[in-house]
Assembly symmetry: none
Homo-oligomer: 130 residues x 2
DNA sequence: GTCTATGTATAAAA
DNA sequence: TTTTATACATAGAC
């Protein structure tokens, strides 16, 4: 890239190093975004500069979520709490939403006043829910 | 890169997508290594393929260490997350339950056929929910 | 995988 | 910064 080959070792000149860091950091993050979009992958990049400053990128959600997914993948649950509780909460939310759908369907049916929107079976199911 | 421009959107052809994923993934990891060496930075890259397979790179130590450093940097106690998220979930559950109550009340009213169980105001509120 | 033509990234310079 | 010359990455074809 550019005029002259690059030795794969730490750039000693601090100015050159800083300039290269900025340029390549931008390039790396761009490439990561592209890969994520083109291939539908979830990617996280974390960069700590030599001076300790953080640069990060997370495609598809937050870095925290990605870290959790990473933890899940690499080995069993590193912490039971964060694994079990959100699962239960999500499940409960899902069930509640389903119930709401059923109730809404029932109401639409009642207001509409016709059976065309609801089968007898669905009506029976509805009875259970109110 | 290569013969022809690339649209920055998901590659639909699964074969092309897989090939591109392999090539660009290798490229991304190489770039990350180079940046780390040239500029003395600590870098972590996590890639979940569309199929859920994990690819990772951590320069200067393990990914776990990097994640810990990240957690330290982003905001002291990582214990914040497990506190906030369950709160949101509980809030959502509460709201969903409230909605269910409203819908159930509406259904009881409709089936009962009388206004005695529901004020006009409550009826108006109900309308919003279905 | 390997091979190329071509598009990109970027080192150096301005 | 912006420009430029080159090295590099990679899409498409085997």
């Amino acid at each position: 890239m550019g005029r002259g080959r690059v030795q794969m070792k730490r750039i000693e000149n601090p100015v050159h190093r800083q300039v290269t860091f900025c340029k390549r950091r931008a390039g790396l993050l761009k490439k990561a975004k592209e890969l994520s979009v083109l291939c539908d992958a979830e990617i996280g990049v974390v960069i700590f500069s030599a001076h300790g400053k953080l640069y990060e990128l997370a495609t598809k959600g937050t870095m925290q979520e990605l870290i959790e997914r990473y933890g899940k993948y690499t080995g069993g649950p590193p912490a039971d709490e964060p694994m079990v509780e959100p699962m239960d909460a999500k499940k409960e939310i899902e069930m509640l939403k389903q119930e709401i759908e059923i109730l809404q369907k029932g109401l639409r049916y009642m207001f509409g006043g016709g059976c065309e929107y609801m089968s007898l079976n669905e009506l029976l199911v509805l009875e259970i829910h109110f």
